[in-house]
Symmetry: C2
Subunit: 338 residues, 2 copies
DNA sequence: CGGATATATGCAAACGTTTGCATATATAGG
DNA sequence: CCTATATATGCAAACGTTTGCATATATCCG
C-alpha cells in the first residue's frame, strides 16, 4: 500500500544515476562529485521527500540501525528507565530500539529472540528471563553483539554484564538503619531463585551483624508483598524498621503501616532499595537506596555501541555504584544517630 | 561481524535451489514439491538454524513485520499498558514493536517518525506529542497505516482514533462523589492545552452541577500536583472530596492528606481517574475510574492489524467505556449514599 | 498412441541499496 | 604536444529474498 520514493526516482529527477545519488546522500568520500550535481541531487531528494530504506542498505552490509532490548516487565520502572537511557544513547546515532517484554517467560523469550534475529538487529541488550539463559546461545552462535543487564546469564561466562551493586544496595540500606539505632529489623525480599539478587539480603545481613534480623520473601508483586509484610509486622511487633528489597514490592508493602495506623518515620522506620517515584510526598519522601537505573542503561548501551563500532571495551563487567537517598521515613531509636 | 545462514546455504545442503527452498519454508502453494525434497529442505534449514531475513523479503513486497508505536512517556503506566496490549496482539502474528518515547517533544517526534519510516514499518500507533500533529503528515503522504491513540490529531480529520471516554471518566468520578453526599469538591487536573483531555473536567462539572467546585491545574508530574493540591486544600478547607484527573498526578497528590495527618476516606474523600497500581493497599484501595488502558491498546492494535491486512474496519472512532472501581477512599457525608 | 493434465524442479529477474570498475574530460608538468 | 593526474560520472554486480516462467517427466483419458 505505502509507496516510497527510491534512489532511482531521485536520480531521475536530478538527471543522474543511482550510484551517484547514493554517494551524495551518504556523503561518502573516495569519489569526486561536482558542487553543481551534488546540489541538484540534494534538492531532488528534498523535494521528493526521499527516505532511505534501511532494510535494503543492510543487505549490502550496512548497519540495520536496530537494537533489540529484552526486559522482563514493561511496567517496572527500573527497566523503563534503562530503556529511556538506552534510547537516548542510540537515538542520537540514528538507531531504533525494539523493546520486548519477556514477561519472565522463557518460551516467550525464545520466540522474541528469534524474531529479533529475523530483523537482523545490530545488537541486543538482554535481561535474561528467570530460567531462560539458554535462549541466548543462538545469539552467541551467530556472533551478534550482546550486553546483559541486571541479572547474570546463568551457565555462561565471558559475557558483557552491567548490573546494580546488589550486595552494596543491601549493605547501604542496612547500615543506614543501624546507624539510626535500629537493632531489630525486618527484610522483605523476593525469592527469585537468582543468586545475584539474593546478594541484597546478604549485604543487608552483613551490615547488621549485631542485630536481630527477620527475613521474609514474597512473590514479585505489590499485593504479595503487602500480605507478607502484614504477616511480618504482626509476627514481630518488636521490630523497629523494615527494609524492602525491591521497589515494586514496596509499592504494596509500605501501605501496611498506613493501614495499621502506624506513622512511618515515627512508629516504624521504612526504607527500600530502588527509587520510589510512585510516591512523591513533599519533604516526607522515603529513605531509599538509589540503584542507578538510568546509569545502568546508559552504560550498557554505551558498551553495546562500542562493540558494534568495533571500539575497545575495557571491561566486561560493570557494577553500578549505589547511593543512599535520605528521606523522612527512618527515625532514630535510643540515642539517635551514632 | 554476525554471520547468518542464507537460503543459498540451505539450498546447497538440500541439493536444490533457493527458489524451491523459499517455497518450502514459506509453505506457499501454487507449486508442487515432492515429500522427499520438502523433508530434505526442512531438515537442512533446521540443521543450519536458518533464520529468515525480514529486510530482504520486505524488498519483494512482503511485510516488514515491524510496527512503530509512539508514546509521550515510557514511565507512564497508562501507556506501557497500551504497549503491553499491542505487543500481545502483534507478537502473535510475528510482528515486532518499536516503542518510542517522544517525551512530548515535537522535534524528537519528528525525527522518530523519520527513523521509523526508514525502517519501513508496516504501521504506526501514535499518541501525538503536545504540539506535534503536523509531524504525522508525512505518514499520511506515503500512505502508511496509522492509528491514533488517546489524544486527537489536531488539525486533521478522517483518521483512526481510539481513546478513553474522557468526558465519561470525569462524569463517573464526580457522580460517585456526589452520590456519597459530597457537595464541596476539588478537581485537580492538568493544563495540557488538549481540549479532549479537558473533557474530564467538563464531565466532572456536569455531574456535580449543584455542587461547589474548585478547579486547580498542575504541571504533569507528581511533584507539581503535590504542591498544587497542598495549596488547594489549604485554600478550601470546606471541601470534603478531591478528584484527581490524572493517575500520574495523583501519585503525588494523595500524599498531601497523609502528610497533613488527614485520614483518607474519613477526614477527606479521594478519588482519581486512572488505575493506581502504584499503591496496593489491601482492602483500603483508592476509589478510581478505570479507563480501560489495556483495552485501548488492544483495540488500537486490532484496527491497525486489520488495516494492514486490508480487512474492513467498521468505525474510525472508538471510545473505550470506563468503569468505576470502588475502594475505601471515599466516605459518606450527611445521610450517606443517596 | 497422442495430447492434455498433474507433478516436480530449476532459472533468472526484481526489490532498493552500495561500491568497485570503467570511462571521459580537464588540468598540469615535462 | 604528450602523458600523468585530478576531477567527474556512469555501469553493473551483489546482498537475500520471492515468484513468474520454462522445462521435464509421469499419468490419464479418449
Amino acid at each position: 500500500m505505502a509507496k516510497f520514493v527510491t534512489l532511482r526516482d531521485v536520480a531521475e529527477k536530478a538527471g543522474t544515476t543511482v550510484g551517484t545519488v547514493s554517494y551524495v546522500l551518504n556523503d561518502r568520500k573516495g569519489r569526486y562529485i561536482s558542487q553543481e550535481l551534488r546540489a541538484k541531487v540534494l534538492a531532488a531528494a528534498e523535494e521528493l521527500h526521499y527516505i532511505k530504506c534501511n532494510g535494503a542498505s543492510s543487505l549490502k552490509g550496512m548497519d540495520r540501525k536496530l537494537i533489540g532490548i529484552l526486559i522482563p516487565q514493561y511496567e517496572n520502572q527500573f527497566f523503563t528507565r534503562i530503556c529511556v537511557a538506552a534510547e537516548e544513547v542510540f537515538a542520537s546515532y540514528g538507531y531504533d530500539l525494539i523493546i520486548c517484554d519477556t514477561f519472565d517467560n522463557p518460551e516467550r523469550e525464545k520466540s522474541i529472540i528469534h524474531r529479533l534475529l529475523s530483523q537482523r538487529v545490530d545488537g541486543l541488550i538482554v535481561t535474561p528471563s528467570l530460567k531462560g539463559s539458554e535462549n541466548t546461545r543462538i545469539v552467541r552462535d551467530v556472533g551478534l553483539n550482546m550486553v546483559v543487564v541486571d541479572r547474570p546469564l546463568e551457565g555462561f561466562n565471558d559475557y558483557y554484564w552491567v548490573s546494580a551493586d546488589n550486595y552494596g544496595c543491601g549493605y547501604v540500606g542496612g547500615e543506614n538503619l543501624r546507624k539510626h539505632g535500629h537493632r531489630s529489623l525486618i527484610y522483605v525480599g523476593w525469592d527469585s531463585g537468582i543468586s545475584e539478587l539474593s546478594e541484597r539480603e546478604r549485604g543487608f545481613r552483613d551490615a547488621c551483624k549485631d542485630c536481630e534480623v527477620f527475613t521474609y520473601n514474597a512473590e514479585f508483586s505489590p499485593k504479595a508483598c503487602y500480605e507478607v509484610t502484614m504477616k511480618a509486622v504482626k509476627e514481630h511487633p518488636e521490630a523497629t524498621a523494615v527494609l524492602f528489597g525491591f521497589n515494586v514490592q514496596a509499592q504494596g508493602g509500605v501501605n501496611v503501616f498506613r493501614d495499621l495506623g502506624m506513622k512511618i518515620g515515627e512508629d516504624i522506620s521504612v526504607s527500600l532499595i530502588g527509587s520510589p517515584e510512585w510516591s512523591y510526598t513533599g519533604n516526607n519522601n522515603f529513605t531509599h537506596v538509589h540503584m542507578g537505573d538510568y546509569e545502568i542503561g546508559k552504560k550498557a548501551a554505551g558498551i553495546l555501541f562500542d562493540l558494534i563500532r568495533g571500539n575497545d571495551v575495557p571491561s566486561k563487567r560493570v557494577i553500578q555504584e549505589c547511593t543512599l537517598v535520605e528521606g523522612a521515613s527512618v527515625g532514630n531509636i535510643g540515642g539517635g544517630i551514632e
